[in-house]
């Protein structure tokens, strides 16, 4: 029995809006695999990059409140965050609280004034949805449950920035066999391969989509997204698999923007890895929210997965 069979689930703001398909598919996947997700009660924003830019210690406080609720109000040992931004920020708060007395002071002060328990480093473990499936089910467990193999589907696995950088906030990565790599992550590749997918050799796994400036410097974001999309197409991919709502909607938005504003039309489809795994396990496109994506992959899903 895996320690990740029942975890506190922290969807975060994006998964209630533009990333709703990720929320839907993550929950559907958990249900299909018999894993229990208990949503963090009355959660707040992790602080995201925007609050970090204003003041990193405030971001640490906001993330710490989420972990405090999971630990003290709900008695959980693990918080699972599917959004790269949330995952990154909880990890960063954990690191700062363990290493920086100044951050501890601010969190203590704000927590007592706000009237909730102060989170102490090391009380919970924050994991990504990739860690969750990989540890709780594993490749073999997944392969045994596949109903519609992804065989023949060419996938580029795109991890983005926040899942691996900066590496000091992910002490469990780069620990040799079985651990995740920050230079060349492979957990998503492993899981999709177990579901039958044909992963292409994709050099831009951890390239930046420009999500930070998706609206404030749109031309830069469009260029960065085009790099990723065109590299995936050059590698022969039909689908880019994502694991972050900001990356995912960035790819979708700027694929449209590249077409509208730059006249560059690209054909590759964009799906969350949880959508691909859910489809492989026999869930319907609607159950994993394929209809909620901007990138219209319904035809590809019917032709290649639901044969």
């Amino acid at each position: 029995m895996s320690k990740y069979e029942s975890v506190a689930y922290y969807p975060g703001c994006a998964l209630e809006g533009s990333g709703h398909a990720y929320n839907r598919s993550t929950q559907a996947l958990g249900k299909a695999l018999g894993l229990k997700l208990e949503e963090v009660k009355n959660w707040n924003c992790c602080g995201a990059m925007e609050v970090k830019n204003i003041d990193p210690k405030l971001q640490t406080y906001l993330s710490s409140r989420v972990m405090a609720i999971a630990a003290h109000d709900m008695g959980h040992k693990t918080v699972m965050a599917p959004c790269n931004g949330c995952y990154h920020n909880l990890k960063k708060a954990e690191y700062d609280l363990a290493h920086d007395a100044g951050s501890r002071d601010v969190v203590e002060r704000l927590s007592s004034k706000a009237g909730h328990a102060t989170y102490e480093a090391g009380t919970v473990e924050t994991i990504h949805a990739l860690d969750w499936i990989k540890s709780a089910i594993g490749e073999e467990g997944l392969a045994a449950r596949v109903k519609h193999s992804l065989q023949g589907l060419k996938v580029a696995n795109y991890y983005g920035c926040m899942y691996t950088r900066p590496r000091h906030i992910f002490p469990e990565k780069d620990q040799g066999a079985g651990s995740e790599s920050t230079a060349k992550p492979h957990f998503m590749d492993d899981l999709l391969a177990a579901a039958g997918a044909e992963n292409v050799e994709f050099p831009l796994k951890t390239a930046c989509c420009g999500g930070a400036h998706t609206l404030s410097d749109s031309d830069t974001s469009t260029k960065l997204v085009l790099n990723i999309i065109q590299a995936a197409e050059a590698a022969g991919a039909e689908v880019i698999a994502t694991e972050c709502p900001t990356c995912h909607s960035g790819l979708e938005m700027h694929q449209v923007r590249a077409e509208k504003n730059f006249g560059v039309k690209t054909a590759v489809k964009i799906l969350y890895f949880t959508q691909l795994l859910g489809l492989a396990l026999g869930l319907s496109p609607r159950q994993v929210g394929v209809h909620e994506n901007v990138s219209d992959s319904m035809a590809l899903v019917k032709e290649k997965i639901l044969r």
Binding site: C13, A14, E16, G17, S18, H20, N42, W43, N44, C45, G47, A48, M49, E50, V51, N53, I54, D55, P56, K57, L58, Y61, L62, R65, R109, L110, K113, A114, G115, C161, M162, T164, R165, P166, R167, T182, A207, C208, G211, A212, H213, L215, S216, D217, T220, K223, L224, E252, M253, V256, R257, E259, K260, N261, V290, H291, E292, V294, D296, M298
Partner: protein
């Protein structure tokens, strides 16, 4: 003398004399191209300390100028003028006027953290870029960047309610920056999104707009955050000597007015 790697010299610092005789030797034209010598006198000796006083800039003093940050930089790959290594050098040297030449692009850092990943000295260059962009605005060298407008809109909603709602952020951001919301590509994206969406979900999304998701019982957290933000602002103003700057400017404005009095 021909100048090697002439492209590295700014054109205005290259001088070619049509007619030039030195020690009886005619060196007109090509052979008389010189690099203008310059004397830098306007150092801001406090520049490094000012950047270090802002969030993210704390570790700038650790830099050894290896260039790993610029080498790994996402934005540098699309704009060679975006050069974190060089800016850190200028800040540490106190060469404020040189830094100001790039004032309009420093905010474009995308926070991909490749620099922070590559840095062998734990300078956290990504944080230094944010601190520098912040410094430029606080000192009045640049107007608020679109990115700062976005951060403030976003952070303001988090501080007020504990959460954000994307629709509100987008509308607030476009209003702040004076852009039309109905941009072609956004409209096209929404059209594509609505193609398959069931009515029920559209209604739910619309309701989220009206109901505004918020964290319950956030009032005390909000007050604590606002107090902290205000306190930090005061600390930063002091570190950058902004109050003294405002005072000096005010008295300068005051003087001619007083002089005009009979």
């Amino acid at each position: 003398m021909p100048i090697h790697e002439e492209h590295l010299i700014r054109p205005e610092n290259l001088v070619t004399h049509e007619q030039l005789v030195i020690d009886g030797v005619d060196v007109s034209g090509h052979w008389s191209t010189f690099i203008e010598s310059r004397v830098v006198t306007d150092y801001n000796e406090a520049l490094q300390d000012e950047i270090a006083a802002l969030p993210g800039g704390e570790q700038i003093h650790r830099c050894w100028q290896c260039g790993s940050c610029t080498n790994s930089c996402t934005v540098n790959a699309i704009n060679p003028d975006f050069n974190p290594r060089y800016w850190i050098y200028l800040i540490r040297m106190g060469m404020e006027s040189e830094l100001l030449r790039d004032r309009d692009i420093i905010w474009q850092c995308v926070s991909c953290n490749k620099c922070t990943y590559a840095c062998p000295r734990d300078v956290f260059p990504e944080g230094v870029m944010k601190a520098t962009a912040h410094w430029l605005e606080l000192k009045g060298h640049t107007p608020k960047s679109p990115s700062m407008h976005f951060d403030e809109e976003f952070a303001g909603q988090v501080f007020a309610t504990g959460r954000i709602e994307e629709g509100r952020i987008i509308r607030g951001f476009f209003a702040r920056t004076g852009q039309a919301l109905m941009q072609d590509w956004l409209v096209e994206m929404v059209k594509r999104l609505l193609r398959h969406l069931p009515v029920k979900l559209i209604v739910t999304m619309g309701l989220a707009n009206v109901l505004k998701p918020r964290t319950r019982g956030w009032g005390r957290a909000r007050a604590a955050i606002e107090e902290y933000v205000h306190e930090r602002e005061q600390v930063q103003r002091r570190a950058l000597g902004l109050d003294a700057l405002v005072k000096a400017a005010a008295s300068e404005l005051d003087q001619p007015a007083r002089g005009a009095q009979p």
